[in-house]
Amino acid sequence: MKKYVCAALGACASIALMAHAAAAETKVGLLLPKSGNYAALGQEIDDGFVMALEEAGMADDFTLVREDSEAKPPVGVAKARKLVLQDEVDAMVGIVSSAVLGAVRDFVDGSKVPLIVANAGNDAATGASCSKYIVRVSFSNGQVNRPMGSWMAEQGIKKVYTLAPDYAAGHQMIDAFTESFTAAGGEIVGSEYTPFGKTQDFGPYLTTAKAASPDAIFVFYAGGEAISFVKQYDSFGIKKDIPLYGSGFLTSPLYVKAEGPAAIGVKTSLHYVPTLDTPENKAFVAAFKAKFDRPPSEYAVQGYDAARVLVEAVKAGANDRESIAEGLTKVSYTGPRGPLTIDPATNNVVQNIYIYETVADGDALTQKIIGTVPEVRDPANGCSLK
């Protein structure tokens, strides 16, 4: 009798082991900032990622290894090496900072581990320095801002003053906007870049911008800077004379609550807005609210889609680094932000860009979509994947 029990237990155990081995065969390294200024974004992306795995019922099929990039390039490189060489992950997901993405690019490309970029928008990552192994599901800096330039020109806005933090993303966002705005007949009457991470008081810049008397001001700010900027813009009383436009990160759902009524009337462009009226998005927002008790931001969607493209690739049969890299570029579906495909020419996402206004909804703030630019595709910018 004892022998049978032993045998039965042994069999059960080995079946369980086999099942476990078969299920947890894809190992994913999540390289996100867990400390510092970008910690909140990292958490949003992580939440979205986990939610997509659970929604697909495949949470057990992926082993997650989390590393803190601290949004610092040297740390990011060290952690990427650790994930690839020590943990031997099949794919990496994350990267919030463009500087970290730039730093890990050569290592990722050389070690041939697929990397799904879930935020960093550096144009070059899917342009001149693109890689077969780097797929971006978030956005590129140019992609988000280019449509806004032509749209604002169409609205009859002639003269614009621009402001952004003085670092790569700030310059790329403003450059893309300027290019399409001037091509559509608009004029940039002034432009300033504020010291990145060191500017808390925008008073001097706002006073200078106002003195240039433009029709509108277009800015890119994110995170804590966005909150300070929007509030200070309002307090100087400029909003009623010169409307504020910007990159959608300015009034992201993640920060709009802290901005308060100051954000009302600000018009921005972004690749995702939580009030998007599609069945896919409504289901996503409801599920996210039920799980985390807050509306999802664009960062959460980026994390969600990073997991979803990975799930789709694995479902289609990808099981090692090479086949996952291959499979990711073939994924295409309609998700929370609308139709999403990966451009085989650059490995950047092709997606709709929405222009939305932040409006009051009782005591809270919500987003009203006032324009949609469908399926925005980045030019190859020197990338030659295909």
């Binding site: 200024n37 504020t194 060191k198 008081d201 001097p204 006073t207 200078t208 300070s228 307090s235």
Partner: protein, 290 residues
Amino acid sequence: MVADVDFWLTQFLNGLQLSMLLFLLSIGLTIIFGLMHFVNLAHGALYMVGAYAGVSAAAALGNFWAALLIAPIAVMLVGIFLYAAIIRHMRRAGPMNQVLVTFGLIFVIVDLVRIVWGDIALGMAQPAILSGPAEFLGVVYPAYRLFIIAVGLIVMAALSLVLSRTQIGAMVRAGVENDAMAACLGINVERLFFAVFCVGCALAGLAGAIAAPVFSATPSMATDILIPTLIVVVIGGLGSLRGAIAGSLIVGFIQTFGAVVMPEFASVLVYVLLAAVLIVKPAGLLPARS
């Protein structure tokens, strides 16, 4: 645009507003340093705690003015705890140990704040009476910023009155000048240190609570403000009220007008000045001990 009087007046107010905020922070730091010979790098973290305490108090009570009262008291209590638990034992430990310990404290306090309040920046509403623009000397300027300037000027006046005209002020000045001699004359220097430390912490808390509606409360504000404050203290001269006033005005105006006149160099200008002061007058422009 640059010939416009309104433009320059507004920029002048911007500079004054930044100076006052820097003053509220640096005065505590500089007096603590001058009197106690203690380098408290965690001063910036106390400013952050003041901002968060202000945000929470304002949210809980729905009253901005109550928050402005509670935040300095809360920060003072944190300061008293730090004093009793750590700083008192570090008084004779030498500057390097003090710097290391208080530098470590920054990270501890920042992470505690992140655990309690989270990573996402929190906003604080301005009181209705101060929200929106006001008319001042013919220019339209945010009423709340005028309020910051007023608070800074009031604190400045009160402190200089106390330090120059009262017995406590005389004791503090004696302690800064020569603490051993002050102790010989029957002044309880240790108790004086403690009182001054509490006032310094409370002012950091006040600065945090006042800054929160403009800059919002974020975990990064602890380190963001520390360097400008240290520069103010070094430029002005350690331990002196007049030095803190001069230093904060210089740094505030250089940052503001640097951003207007030569934005490419705005962030470097202050450091250039710092280097120049250290070369020409290593003790600062208006040091307490001549």
